[in-house]
Point group: D2
Chain length 338, copies 4
């Protein structure tokens, strides 16, 4: 932590900061520059508690030096985390896993049909929402446990793993009982009580980036889960808010190499939500694989126009299959496979 003193800070102000830091058992390094006096802080910042150095007299600004996340960082763990999903599948290795399926489980027919198609095209994990976060209280809210049942049946029949979202602590036990990967949606990335509970669950977690979360905040959300005891966290980039209105969100693919630089956790990409228009999903899936993603989350619906949610961004099974061919060739060009 670096404390920058204001131009008009007095000697008393400077000594006040130094004393306050030393009282917390930290060492303060004073540098008097031609134009600025700065105070460097050495030691364990945790000793300071929430103490707001910014509020001491004469302080202009405080700049943190250490990343606030520990267990999510590569300093904590140098080798890459490989997340096991069930007994025969891992995320974070040279195989890129494609998680495909409808936004919401709407019916047994819809899901089984889609599951069969995406399996045939090469997906290994089936996605589908049973509990749906909807911005309108009047929109379809999901089939609930019935949806989980249908997902489990599809898993059985087609040998797919399943990933589905949990929104609420009260339904966490039942979602956990059914699913292979628990999904935390973008709106719950900072639902800290939910994160704490999931930290104590023994299932892999797919943690979507918040609508306007910085990469640091996203890794801090992962830290909640890791520090709770669950080390199987998969990060998922799904687009961030920007001023551009043509797309639903702006897919930030640079997050893929950056997260891999800062953290040991695997990272997957969801271009369907990032873009919001199916026409552009395939090129962005290709780009995600080229950027180094460990997996993809793709919405596929047998009849997008009749989908109860997110039809505009869903691929048909036919378009999905065509796309998978391209992805396989790009993965191979980079020494990976799908």
């Amino acid at each position: 932590m670096i404390v920058i003193m204001a131009d008009n800070a007095t000697e008393e102000d400077i000594q006040g900061v130094v004393k306050r830091l030393e009282a917390a058992g930290l060492r303060a390094h004073l540098s008097r520059g031609v134009e600025k006096t700065i105070i460097g802080l050495i030691g364990d910042k945790v000793r300071l508690g929430g103490f707001a150095i910014e509020a001491l007299p004469g302080v202009e600004e405080v700049i943190p030096i250490l990343q606030p996340y520990k267990m999510a960082s590569r300093s904590f763990r140098a080798e890459r985390t490989v997340v096991p999903v069930g007994e025969d599948l891992v995320i974070g290795s040279e195989k890129i896993h494609v998680m495909a399926g409808p936004c919401a489980v709407e019916s047994r027919e819809q899901l089984l049909y889609t599951a069969e198609k995406v399996r045939a095209a090469g997906a290994t994990i089936l996605r589908g929402g049973a509990f749906k976060p909807r911005s309108s209280p009047y929109a379809f809210q999901g089939l609930g446990e019935q949806g989980l049942n249908i997902l489990a049946e599809a898993r059985e029949r087609f040998g797919l793993k399943i990933v589905t979202e949990v929104m609420d602590i009260r339904t966490l036990p039942i979602v956990t009982a059914y699913t292979d990967i628990i999904q935390i949606g973008t709106r719950n990335m900072q639902n800290f009580d939910l994160l704490k509970e999931i930290g104590q669950v023994n299932k892999p977690v797919l943690l979507k980036r918040g609508l306007s979360a910085t990469i640091e905040e996203w890794l801090m959300a992962a830290e909640y889960i890791l520090s709770g005891g669950n080390s199987d966290v998969i990060l998922c980039e799904r687009g961030i808010r920007s001023f551009e209105t043509y797309t639903r969100n702006t897919l930030d693919l640079s997050a893929v190499p950056i997260v891999k630089h800062l953290s040991h956790l695997p990272v997957v990409v969801d271009p369907s939500h990032g873009i919001g228009r199916w026409k552009f999903v395939a090129p962005m899936c290709r780009a995600a694989v080229a950027a180094g993603a460990d997996g993809l989350l793709v919405e596929v619906h047998p009849n997008p126009a009749e989908a109860l949610c997110d039809g505009a961004q869903s691929l048909t099974p036919e378009n999905f299959e065509i796309m998978m061919g391209d992805l396989r060739r790009i993965a191979a060009a980079l020494g990976r496979n799908i």
Copy 2:
């Protein structure tokens, strides 16, 4: 709803859209322009369900015409909602209420001292967090029920109302039992399960705008509460994410007159979180009152440098008192009072 057909849409595509709309019992108006064919939709859109017209062949874009919120809109209710807080205070009238206090309840002494000071300076409502959402799992998470007890004691002694945050459905009953106004924080604005529960509670709700929520999404969050049966919703602007890094967030004061144009609900402003630096809180409080806010939420701490949270943005009781004088004069200049 307006459906814009692609330039290369065929006659069959156009008829496909018209038939699909009519199948849902809606009337479709076809306009063939020189350059574009557009289809207007008349009737109750709810009949369409989640149906994604965008996914029909030949459709370029779908533009909604109606606001998606109903009960939050001024069409639903033309006169302004006045929210009663206890028996002797209302929000949304010509009196502007100032809700002041520390970010978090840290101790009995801290809270009672602050309560006395802000009361003396003219605040009518005491703020203070007992359950705190923190971006780091290692930061102070609040005193919990003990904090609620201290808030209740301060209410008793100083005749203030209290506002405090709920983060979790499990603690909703206890927070409701103690508080006069339930606060929903920015990170929970789209915690839909929590919103649904609060819709069934008989206490006023202060609903903060999400970090990157549009005004429409914010009103849709209010709609969740209103449609659940709780009509006492107070909206709170608290800054949105932008590219500017000097401030913690960008306080969007234009939201005040806009919300009052679109909705009948009262709106208050929290400049402390919006700006994040105490030096700029007073000018932005003045601006909020001038823009027409029905209240303010201000962080005040007896010793900001020692605060366990948000010290950098807290006013001292002395600065708070000075500010209140300015606010009173501005309110009076506009025919209101504080």
Copy 3:
């Protein structure tokens, strides 16, 4: 400047950075923390030139400490700059100046009528574009020199000063010859060649903030003008880009107190462009005055529906007059006048 070394930086890397800094005549302070090694830099950073320390082996990040602007900062000049406009008017004193008029000069009648009205309501400066930056090549581009002539006539008749935009170095001499204040539009805030030329002109400059300019970049643009020799710079906040689509831009009123903290230059606010809808212009003008603005820029048009540009955000003379009454009372409440 603080250099943060990567966790895996070698001793050789660290010495490499230190040597490179010392070769430039700077003193390097090495701090080896438990978790990070950081290197502080003392001396005149200008000696480094564009030298990219980030690109040296083992460097994780470089954090600047000094503000990059000099002449625009309060360290350079502690007292507030008061900009004289002609012989009898200054900007930056306790009098708040309102600059009002149409987006574009459309005709002699339109301008003279508007000038008379805004003068009567209390404006002291007339705004009106003769050269117009338009996002479409097919939109009205302004009357050019004829427009400047009309502005000059209005100045003569009504005793107003005038402010008008320059877009191009080729028309700078003629705009300078006519106007009292040269306006630099938001799209030209980083037109560095234009800024350099204006640095050599002997007329006050109104420098609008760029659409997505940080406060620091805005002050750096002012630095171009100041370092060229022209010290009469007035800053103008006019809204920044955010994700919110209801308004044209998000008016960042916190920029007013922040700029006054960081710089000695006066700052005015243009809510018409910030909001883009006339209904919300008056509340935001009130808020700007309450936040401490030294002036306002307001679009007024005798018949907004027939305006050739920006009609949707223009006030009628009647609405303008009503607003001025409110502004006068708020200014008085804060010890200023309009």
Copy 4:
């Protein structure tokens, strides 16, 4: 264009809008819905001039239907534009061109060395700034014509084309005389006078997207050049402003397929400016190729740490060569070549 009337609009208001539209020779279609009255507009909107329908009594909102750009749209030209650069190279075909070189021409040695290296690795076009837009007036501003001379020498020796930026109308003739492609930087995307001049030049133009330009505004900037008579426009995505601070900008790769959907113009990507950190440039180049880019713009410097500008985002020739191998394989996987 669709006009949405306010809920409280009177019959007189509605007729007022209809009459005003008909007076301009347009046909108005009135639809009275259960909840809203909307008025559709058929005919050539250009007849309306700048006329602000929003400002008519009773109008709530006006929604444009037609894209404001004409010549840049695919309706205007269905087949893809292929831009010839000199006599033996085209941009927009199955060959992807890599434009590589330093941010700024610093010396003859630096440029010739870099040119030789990037040529050997497969680049076909040499980039390098002679006139540099710098946010600080104290930073290196480029070598000017001397830099152009050096670029020309490199072209001669290594058989490369050259691309370099123009900032100012006064230097446009000389830049045009030397370069093969004129670059318009992000800060000049809406320097409309410069765009108009370039519309009359007979050289290909590389038009960078503005820092906070929507895709529509970017295509409107292209429209300025196209409507001036120069049809050889290459669009360049280079990152947009978002709230994320880890990267210099957020590279919006979805712009690649979107621009190709909306327009016939070729599009290239500049990940160096988009990301601002060399470590992440290679993955984003790979992603850009996979997304369908027609070319890349990459900063390469023999000694990034000593670069006079943008060293932190420059690749060494060695890293550039490694990257080119990956790009070739991805291009081949998609039926293209580099």
